[in-house]
Amino acid sequence: MIQTIARYLDLALAYLRDQIEKLIREVGATFLFMTSSVRLLFSKPSRYNEMIRHMEFVGNQSIGIISLTGLFTGLALSLQIYLGFKMFNAVNMVGPVVALGITRELGPVLTGLIVAARAGGAMAARLGTMRVNEQIDALDVMGVNTRQYLIAPRIAATVLCMPLLTAVFDFVSMLGSYVLCVKLVQIDEAVFWQKIRETVEVRHINEGLLKAAVFGLVFSVICTYRGFNTTGGAKGVGEATNEGVVRSMVMIIILDYFIGNLIRLFYLVTGMG
């Protein structure tokens, strides 16, 4: 009996060790992939045209869905906070609480999740398809540095677009909050804006924008890495896309907590908080 338990324990430990080893190897490979690709951003020939093309896809084409999501996030969040604060006679604080929540947390996180699903998934699928159709091999044998041509512009475009999209999300969310608070539940307009001005500082907005840029870096690296290293035909492309998006989303949620804490720590150390 004890021997059986010991054997199962051994197997479980071996499995755990394998999984941890695999995870460390994967994280290491992804990190190397990121550093080597980002380094190539500044090498010749320049890929600014490619970067602008990807910015149009990641940024411009995401504005619609980001605005729609932002509007309803602002409306829903404001409604719930209004209902809660009404019990304590603190409805004047709905605006600032929504503004802080949106700019520091929900803005970058929801923008990250939406753009990771839309643009990150497309990146993984596109690169995966190019890999299995030998298009990446064709570029390689043509003497084109594939990381510089395919990866670096996508990462740069995403890092640049994410803060801008988050700013759009923040703005439209606050518009939604304004509509609910001022137009629907009749909070005084002057009080609504005054309380927000008193509570929300530029650094709160910057915190969200910084997070957004980090999320952009993380999900673009994860998705391009998975797409670039696709194996196994159409099935492999599906797996790469799925893994790229899921890993990106999980990483965004985890990183949000740690970046938030790091920023708090920074404020504490520098006495800015």
Binding site: E134, M142, G143
Partner: protein, 253 residues
Amino acid sequence: MQVTSAVSLRAVTKTFDNKEFILKGIDLEVPKGSLMAIIGFSGTGKSVVLKHILGLYKATSGLIEVLGTDINSLSPDELTRFRQKFGVLFQSAALFDDMTVLENVCFPLFEHRRELRPSQVLAIAEERLVQVGLDKKHYNKLPSQISGGMQKRTGLARALALDPEILIYDEPTTGLDPILTEMVDNLILETHKSRKGLTSIMVSHDLAAAFRIADHIAMLDAGKVLLSGTPEDFFNSDIELVKRFVSKGLRYK
């Protein structure tokens, strides 16, 4: 020293997992200006040999010289530049599906002939497309809008864009119908004959085509070169496996 071999592989071995060797000591000379066919059963390492020649794989041991350069000794940047000497036609043609036929052929020129004006690039690309016999009405179509044969022609025009010294065909007729196969075979032969000094290497399952168009043939078996020589050497060979291959090839011919 005059280099007479375009490609030279000496005692090349390759293993991916340190257990099983895919290549078990390949010795192969591809004479300059020749059209060599590499034939053999599936899984004998033909495509792996090609990928070594292109520098996509590094040999576990052995020497690979391409145009007198030890390809394994090149840095990644040097290798990227060196690859401009190659043109490759892939089995699937591997055209960029978001570019038109003309853009596909222009792409390597825009990448590596930056001194050329766009009008000059267009002129060269159109010349290559004419050489492979692609009608002008298809130039602005996407690869998905043209037939498999036209895709092969476009792929060949793109491979020829930079005037390569070595042209590589990776199973160019696999999966094509007999008429398209003959068209592609003729295209390979015409391209080879029309470009002086061009070395062509073709990996193929199509034995009839190999015997019809190649002037040199290498047969791989179990990760080694079983026989390398002219088609006549193959006809006169006493090696049992070669005899079987030749008879099969002749039957199709």
